[in-house]
């Protein structure tokens, strides 16, 4: 129930943030200087930070829901959850390193 609800809320958030992200990286020329300039302003940092958190949680929550469709054993489900938490922590750390470099 919580994972279903979170999928909806993060989906709506991503819908807005991801299209901002896409229009910045595709409708304007993308250079290193532009990226650096954007990452130095707190507004863009906050936007990217929320995009990172929402996208990682949405993706791994989606994989968890797919896993629930096919994995019936409780122990295997717990193992899947453990793996997903591990991957999620790693991806979040990677994103933090990018944003706060």
């Amino acid at each position: 129930m919580i994972s279903w609800l979170w999928q909806r809320f993060s989906g709506i958030g991503l819908l807005i943030l991801l299209f901002i992200h896409l229009s910045i990286s595709h409708l304007r020329p993308l250079t290193y200087e532009n990226m650096q300039m954007r990452l130095s302003s707190p507004f863009w940092l906050f936007l990217n930070f929320s995009l990172l958190g929402l996208s990682v949680s949405h993706a791994l929550n989606g994989l968890w829901q797919i896993g629930q469709d096919y994995i019936m054993k409780e122990a295997l489900r717990r193992m899947l959850a453990f793996c997903l938490w591990l991957i999620g922590g790693f991806l979040f750390l990677l994103g933090l390193l990018i944003l706060l470099r």
């Binding site: 290193y32 990226m35 993706a59 989606g62 797919i66 990677l94 390193l97």
Partner: protein
């Protein structure tokens, strides 16, 4: 040699049985929407990890980032990026459709909604993909 031929034959038979099983379903637009949503979701989850890793690795300096941008110019990469953007647009559009259906809105028009989502995703992805192919 005969053993390998026998093995291959067995594989073909199993494949045939599986395909017949797959097409014994009643294929309809809702099923296609669900399948595409799931496949796009898995692809996007894999891409997210790839994307973060690439930006982390190539974002070290201006020169590194330039080489990434150059790699992006290759035709294969352009095709992959086009597919990626279509997947994003489709996943987003079908997500809206799913939320509407969860609220009980438009259940009767879900087939036309699926067609609308397809059209919308094609139009939106064309808009975003245009600068990749024309610069």
């Amino acid at each position: 040699m005969l053993k390998e031929v026998k093995y291959l034959f067995c594989c073909v038979l199993i494949m045939k049985k599986y395909l017949r099983y797959l097409f014994s379903y009643h294929w309809h637009s809702g099923m296609l929407a669900w399948l595409l949503m799931r496949l796009c979701g898995i692809a996007l989850a894999i891409y997210l990890g790839f994307h973060l890793w690439m930006i982390f690795w190539f974002g070290q300096s201006s020169v590194f980032f330039g080489s990434l941008l150059q790699m992006r110019e290759q035709p294969g990469m352009r095709i992959l990026e086009t597919l990626l953007i279509w997947a994003v647009c489709y996943h987003a559009g079908n997500g809206i459709r799913l939320i509407l259906i969860d609220f009980g809105l438009g259940i009767r028009w879900q087939k036309s909604l699926f067609a609308a989502v397809m059209m919308l995703s094609l139009i939106l992805s064309t808009l975003f993909v245009y600068p990749i192919w024309h610069d």
